[in-house]
């Protein structure tokens, strides 16, 4: 049992990791076929993982409703949103004359599911992020100070790029467009490249540690 619970997952990780890393260097059709098959599997499994991610949400809000914790009415709204959307997703569209089956439109006719999507989800999510426009302005006003040489540099770069990205800015300060191009293409690219290299080394190290069983956090929980 201990083997099944502890060693087997590590063994599977090791074999899968080594085989699919090695696959990269083997161009033979046999190896390509294996890659096709397994990536197709992985696609399906990641669908299951997606479901797994949302279920904890179900659980948390169910507890809130059961215990009538403060704000449990909002949890009911959340449940209503989930169930209503699912119901719409599998309803029958009389105008289109067929089952909706998760289609927003059928031959150009908007379904109930599509209605929920474009008239609820799109404005809700869009506005959530639109709020940030206000906060970025307020952050710019209240925190963007030339406290030090570094902060001053950040500030100047930000102002130039802001000028250079909009027509009015380019009109007021014609050179800003070219300077913005240069900052983005050279200075910014250099920094991003260094960061990318650093992150990639970290990612490769992490992947190697996972394959060789030194990093096991992904197996979830410390309890055996």
């Amino acid at each position: 049992m201990i083997f099944l619970r502890r060693q087997l997952p590590l063994l599977i990780t090791f074999v899968a990791g080594v085989v699919f890393a090695a696959q990269y260097y083997v161009p033979h059709p046999t190896s390509e076929l294996m890659l096709t098959e397994v990536t197709k599997w992985l696609q399906i499994i990641s669908g299951f993982a997606l479901v797994l991610g949302v279920t904890s949400l179900f659980h948390i809000h169910a507890v809130k409703i059961r215990r009538k914790e403060p704000g449990w009415a909002y949890s009911l709204i959340l449940y209503g949103g989930i169930l209503g959307t699912i119901a719409a997703g599998f309803s029958y569209s009389f105008t289109a004359g067929q089952w909706v089956n998760g289609k927003e439109t059928i031959n150009g006719i908007v379904t109930a599911f599509g209605w929920i999507y474009s008239d609820m989800m799109v404005p809700l999510q869009g506005t959530m992020f639109a709020i940030l426009a206000f906060f970025i302005a307020s952050a710019a006003y209240r925190s963007f100070r030339a406290r030090s040489r570094e902060a001053a540099l950040l500030l100047i770069a930000a102002i130039i790029v802001m000028m250079g990205r909009v027509p009015l800015g380019e009109m007021l300060l014609p050179v800003s467009g070219d300077v913005t191009q240069w900052i983005l293409n050279v200075l910014n690219a250099a920094v991003r490249r260094a960061i990318l290299i650093g992150i990639s080394l970290g990612a490769v190290a992490l992947s190697l540690k996972i394959i060789f069983g030194m990093e096991r956090a992904y197996l979830g929980g410390g309890k055996e």
Binding site: T39, Q43, F134, M163, P167
Partner: protein, 281 residues
């Protein structure tokens, strides 16, 4: 509290109001300032321009409603261009919550240009897996998408005739709002299956993509609403992006003013403190 201090600690809701007004007014009363085209955007445009009729163009709309205002105009402009050039268009998305949006964009653009689903274009919809999805498409497109968004078996579609894998696609453009997007298409796709790749993205992630642009891993980059406006200018069909640029101008200049004001007040406080011998904040 001095005047400068009071101004620095002003209720942020006043700033919110300023931004709101700066956005609203130009939308109601547009001016129409000229837009200069950058080489990054031209890269994508010129490549599509160079493709012969009937070439295969895959547009992956990797964003969700949160980035709709930035990336939808890009998608519309690209599709109009591709349809005008009579390319065979394949639409898809890597983001599940973007499926409805992507479907709408493709079908509307197709309708506008008089294109027929299944013959001139296809919308494949969404499929899970990101990296593994792209690899599967590179190995066998029909395994990744046995049927399209409208449940038509993909093997029977006229538009996909002669296309077996991503190797047969001439140009892929990913419009990305995050890491499941341009980077994934490069690392798991272009790197091995050798199609040409272009990108469009939100302003948030654009600076991070410049290393890929410089090294030629992508042959062009449409950045944010400004990029979309440039593309609209290039194909001569002004749309939502160009319309939004006036508001952008106003808010950007407003923010620059705010930053300058903030620093003026900050300097005032610092100099007055320096004179009265108080410790610096």
């Amino acid at each position: 509290m001095t005047f400068a201090e009071r101004m620095l600690h002003i209720d942020r809701r006043i700033i919110f109001l300023v931004i709101g007004v700066c956005t609203l007014l130009p939308l109601l009363y547009p001016v129409g300032l000229a837009i200069k085209v950058s080489p990054e955007v031209r890269g994508v445009h010129d490549y599509i321009e160079s493709l012969p009729e009937g070439s295969v163009f895959l547009l992956s709309m990797d964003f969700d409603p949160a980035s709709k205002p930035e990336l939808q105009p890009q998608a519309v402009a690209l599709l109009r261009h591709a349809f005008k050039k009579n390319l065979r268009v394949i639409g898809m998305t890597l983001w599940v919550t973007g499926t409805g949006l992507a479907d709408l964009v493709v079908s509307q653009a197709a309708q506008e240009m008089g294109k027929v689903n299944g013959k001139d274009y296809v919308f494949l919809g969404w499929s899970p897996g990101v990296g593994s999805l792209i690899i599967t498409m590179g190995q066998d497109l029909y395994k990744a998408f046995p049927s399209d968004y409208n449940n038509q078996p993909t093997r029977e579609l006229a538009v996909l005739k002669g296309i077996q894998t991503l190797r047969d696609v001439n140009y892929v453009v990913s419009l990305a709002a995050g890491t499941a997007g341009i980077e994934s298409w490069y690392v798991y796709g272009k790197d091995k299956y050798k199609f040409e790749l272009g990108g469009g993205c939100t302003g948030v992630i654009a600076p991070g993509l410049y290393p890929l642009l410089r090294s030629g891993q992508i042959n062009g980059l449409i950045g944010g609403l400004r990029g979309a406006a440039e593309y609209e200018t290039l194909i001569g069909q002004k749309g939502r992006a160009v319309a939004g640029m006036d508001a952008q101008s106003a808010t950007h200049v407003a923010i620059i003013m705010l930053v300058i004001l903030c620093n003026v007040f900050y300097l005032l406080i610092r100099t007055s403190r320096g004179q009265s011998g108080q410790p610096r904040g």
